[in-house]
Symmetry: C2
Subunit: 494 residues, 2 copies
C-alpha cells in the first residue's frame, strides 16, 4: 500500500507515493536497530558529538528541499519552517555540547571506605548508559522541531540509543528528507545505517507494533492525550513494561489581574489573541483558557482585533473537521458569546473563534474546559478572589501564566499554579518554548505522562539509566569511570 | 478487625492486637496527608534537614524496643536488626546532608538572552519540587531498612512529600514503633501529624485503595515481582496514571571463571554459599544463579560447607511454605543434584538447599531460572565460552557478578552484563548494598519498574518533578531561584 501527503492549502495531493511499512518491515527495522545499538553506546563523547553535529550539517544542507516540502505539507509559512529547521540544528548543537562535556553521564565515584557506616563500602562508580532502541512518535504540528529529528529523537540519539521514529502521515515527504540526512550523517561517521530508521504510514496498527516490540526500551511521544493514553496503556500491558515519555498538550490558562488590565488592556487583549492564533492555534502551549475581570474595553479589543485576523489552513483534514465541529457545537450553546476572525475558505481553512463567558457558566461546561486544537480560546470573566478556587479545579498543565503588575501579590496563586503546571510564567505568553537547560516542557497528567521535560538538554536523561560498577580494576572500567579520566568528563568523587 | 504478628521462631503470636485499617481510614489518611503536604514542600533546606535528623534521633531513642519487636517478628538475629536500625538512621543523616546542601533542588538559571538562537530567551529558572502525597509499600525482609522508614520512605520525606506507608503485616508492631518515632519528630518540628501515617492490615484490598487514590502522586515499593506488577498495572489503570518505583528482586547471577577457581576455589565456594544463605536467603540481592566450570573440588566444597550450615526460620508462614514447596518440587526432578544444609525444625524453619546441574539441563527448566526466596541457589556448570550466550538469555537483574582474576579478559562479558543489570560486581558478592551516592539499586525489568535507584541519595529524585519559572521578578521567585540565593543552594547559571 502507498499513500500521499495532502496539501492543506488546497486539499490536493503532494509529493511521491509513499509506501506504507508492513509489520514485517517495522519488526525488521527494530531488530536491526537493536543490533546497531551497542556500537552507538560505545562511542566516546567526541564521537557522539561529531555525529550530532553531522546530523545538523546534513539537515542544514537539505534546507531548501525541507522548506519546499514542509511548507506544502503543512501550510505553515516559510519563515516558521525556516525557524523550525534552525531550531532543529541548534538543538543538535546544544546536545553535541552537552555530550562533549560528558556531564550527561552523571559520573559519581565513591572510593572504597573501610570505615563507612553502617558497613565498609566497596569501590562504587556509577554512570548513565543508553537503553538500546527508543521508539519516537512524531507530532503533526511541528514538521521538524517535534518530528523525526525533533527534541525527542535528538535527545534519544544524543544519549546513545538507536532510534526508530514513526513519521507523522501528514508530512511524510519532509520526514523522508530528514531520514536521508540522518542516514548520510551515519555514513559519514561510519556508523550502521540501521542506527536510525523512520516508519511511514497512516495505519494505527503501526503504533501498536512499535510500542509492543520487545526490543523497544522506551517511547518518546508528542501529540494528543488520546494517542498518548493509548501508548501509556500499551506499554503497561507489555510483559516488560517500558517508560512512555508522552507530551500530550494542555489548556495553558492565563490569569489576568485587574491591575494588569488597568495598566495595558489593549496590548494584553491583542497579545492573548495573537498567542492563541499563532501557528493557527496548533501549539501545545496555546493559551486555551483566559481568566480575567469583566472589563468591557478589554473584551471589545479582543473582538475587534480578532475580527482583523485570518489564519493559515489547519494541518490536516481531520484536524480541520474536528475543530470546526467542536466550534460550531460550542457556538450553538446558550450563554456563550462568540467572536470570530476572518474565515479561510480554501483547503483546510477555518474561522478563528473566541468564546466569552463567565466562570459560573464555564465551570458547568466540561466541553469548554477541554483542549480544542486550532485557532480558538475561551475568555472567562471572573473575580480575582475566585482565581485560587479556579486554579484548584484545573487539571495538570504544561504552563500557567499570571498577567499582573508589581502591585499584585501573586505569591499564593503562583504557589498553587506551580503545583498544577510544569512551567509558570509572569507577564508573558506560553507559546514559544526556549530550547535551553532551564526549560521544563512537561507537567502533571494530562499535560505529560512523566516528571520530565521533552524540550531542552535535560530531555536526554529520559533515555538513559544508571549502571553501578563495584570493585573493578582501572583497566576494565569504562573510560568515563577511570581515575585517569581519559575523556575528561565531570567526575563527582567522594 | 484486628490481627497479630506471628513469631517465626515458634509460630506463636506476638504483641498487641493490631486494628486493620478500613477503606475510610485509608482514604482519610491520604486526604489529611494531602492537606499537610504544602507545608512540607515549603520548608527551607535547613528545616527539612532538621526534620530528617529528628526522625533519626527518635528512631535511635526507640532502639531497645525496636530490637525486641523486630527480632520477635522476623527471627532475624539481634546484630542484623541493630545494623538495620543504624542503617536507617544513617540513611536519614545522608539525606539530611544532601537536603541541607540544596543540591537535590537541581537549580538551573538561564538568564534572559535577546541574542539566543533560534529565538530570544526569556529569564528561565528551574528547580525540583515535591509531588504531594507518596504511597510507600514496605518490604517483608527488612523490618527497618526497607520498611515504613526505609529507603523509599526516607527519600520521599527528604524530597518534601507527605507519606502514607503500608506496613508489612509480618512486622506490624515494629512498624507502629517507627510510626510513633516519626510522629514525635513531626511534633518536635511543629509539623502536622498528618504528614506521615502508616496503614496496617493483611487485606490485599488495602494495596488497591492506596494505589488508586487520586491524591497519591507516586508509589515506592520493595517486594515481589507479583505484587510489583499488580501495582504497576493498577497505576496504569488510573484516570491519572502515576509512576511506580518498584524494586522487585532478581536472580543476581555470578559468573565464575576457571582462573578464579584455580586461584581460590575454597574461598569462592564458601563465599557463594554464605552469600546465598545470608539473612536466610531473603535478600533481593541473593545470588540465585552461579555459572561455573565443572570443577569437582569446587562443587565438593560447596556441599561440605553447606552441610555445616543452618539458617534462622523464614519471615512468615507463607514464605516458608512457598520455599519448601518449590524446593521439594525441584528436588524431585531428574538431572538435578541436590545438596542440603542443616534443617531448622521449629517455627518457620526450612532446609538450606543448593541445586547443581549443567547449562544444557538448566536452560530447559524455566522453574530453575526463577527467583526462589529463601536459602537456596543453583550452581550451573558450563564452559566459559558459553558465558556470553548465557548472559544474553538472562532477564533484567539488580546485579551481575564476575568472579575472575587479572588474567581474565572480562570486557565483553562485562559490557553485556552492564546491559542486563543495574550494578555489576567484580570479585565480590551481591548481598550488601552500600547506602551511598554511587550505588544503583534497580535494574531492567523485572528487577525494577523504573530507571532509578531505590538505595542511596539519588533515590530522592524519584519523588520530585521539575518546575520552570519564566519572567518572574526576584521578590516573587522561590528562594532557591533568587539571584541573592538566601539558602545558598548550588545554582547552575548560564
Amino acid at each position: 500500500m502507498t499513500f500521499r501527503a495532502v496539501k492543506p492549502i488546497d486539499a490536493t495531493s503532494y509529493g511521491i507515493d509513499i509506501p506504507e511499512n508492513s509489520r514485517n518491515e517495522v519488526d525488521s527495522f527494530i531488530a536491526a536497530a537493536a543490533v546497531a545499538a551497542p556500537a552507538l553506546a560505545q562511542q566516546s563523547p567526541k564521537e557522539r558529538a561529531q555525529l550530532l553535529r553531522e546530523i545538523a550539517t546534513q539537515i542544514e544542507a537539505s534546507r531548501a528541499t525541507l522548506i519546499e516540502s514542509a511548507c506544502a505539507e503543512t501550510a505553515l509559512p516559510e519563515a516558521r519552517i525556516a525557524g523550525e529547521i534552525t531550531r532543529t540544528t541548534v538543538q543538535f548543537e546544544l546536545f553535541a555540547r552537552l555530550v562533549e562535556s560528558g556531564k550527561h553521564l552523571g559520573v559519581v565515584i565513591d572510593k572504597a571506605d573501610p570505615n563507612y557506616s553502617p558497613a565498609p563500602r566497596p569501590d562504587l562508580r556509577k554512570m548513565n548508559a543508553p537503553l538500546g532502541v527508543v521508539a519516537i512518535f512524531a507530532a503533526s504540528n511541528f514538521p521538524l522541531a517535534f518530528s523525526v529529528a525533533g527534541g525527542d529523537a535528538a535527545s534519544a540519539i544524543a544519549s546513545g540509543n538507536a532510534v526508530v521514529a514513526k513519521a507523522h502521515p501528514s508530512h511524510p515527504n519532509t520526514c523522508a528528507i530528514v531520514e536521508k540526512a540522518i542516514k548520510a550523517a551515519l555514513a559519514k561517521c561510519k556508523l550502521s545505517q540501521d542506527s536510525y530508521a523512520i516508519v511511514q504510514g497512516p495505519d494505527p496498527q503501526i503504533t501498536h507494533w512499535l510500542a509492543l516490540h520487545p526490543a523497544v526500551k522506551a517511547i518518546g511521544f508528542t501529540g494528543s492525550e488520546i494517542v498518548g493514553r493509548i501508548l501509556v496503556d500499551l506499554a503497561a500491558t507489555r510483559p516488560e513494561p517500558i517508560p512512555v515519555y508522552a507530551e500530550m498538550g494542555s489548556l495553558n490558562p492565563i490569569f489576568v489581574t485587574s491591575s494588569a488590565i488597568a495598566d495595558r488592556s489593549e496590548a494584553l487583549a491583542k497579545g492573548i489573541v495573537d498567542s492563541a492564533l499563532m501557528g493557527s492555534g496548533q501549539f501545545c502551549t496555546k493559551p486555551g483558557l483566559i481568566f480575567a475581570p469583566n472589563n468591557p474595553e478589554f473584551i471589545a479589543t479582543v473582538k475587534s482585533h480578532l475580527a482583523t485576523l485570518a489564519v493559515a489552513p489547519l494541518l490536516s483534514k481531520s484536524i480541520a473537521e474536528r475543530y470546526s465541529k467542536a466550534i460550531s457545537h460550542l457556538a450553538s450553546q446558550a450563554k456563550l458569546e462568540v467572536a470570530s476572525g476572518i474565515s479561510t475558505e480554501q483547503g483546510f481553512g477555518v474561522t478563528p473563534t473566541v468564546f466569552i463567558t463567565d466562570w459560573a457558566t464555564a465551570s458547568q461546561n466540561p466541553e469548554l474546559l477541554e483542549e480544542h486544537f486550532g485557532p480558538t480560546t475561551v475568555i472567562i470573566t471572573c473575580k480575582e478572589e475566585e482565581f485560587l478556587a479556579i486554579a484548584t479545579s484545573l487539571k495538570g498543565q504544561l504552563t500557567a501564566t499570571i498577567q499582573g503588575t508589581d502591585a499584585d501579590k501573586p505569591e499564593s496563586l503562583l504557589a498553587l499554579l506551580a503545583q498544577k503546571a510544569g512551567r509558570v510564567i509572569w507577564n508573558g505568553f506560553p507559546t514559544g518554548v526556549a530550547v535551553t537547560t532551564a526549560m521544563n516542557h512537561g507537567g502533571p497528567w494530562p499535560a505529560s505522562s512523566s516528571h520530565t521535560t521533552s524540550v531542552g538538554t535535560d530531555a536526554i536523561y529520559r533515555f538513559m539509566r544508571p549502571v553501578a560498577y563495584q570493585g573493578f580494576s582501572q583497566s576494565v572500567l569504562p573510560k568515563a569511570l577511570q581515575d585517569s579520566n581519559p575523556w575528561s568528563v565531570p567526575q563527582s568523587i567522594n
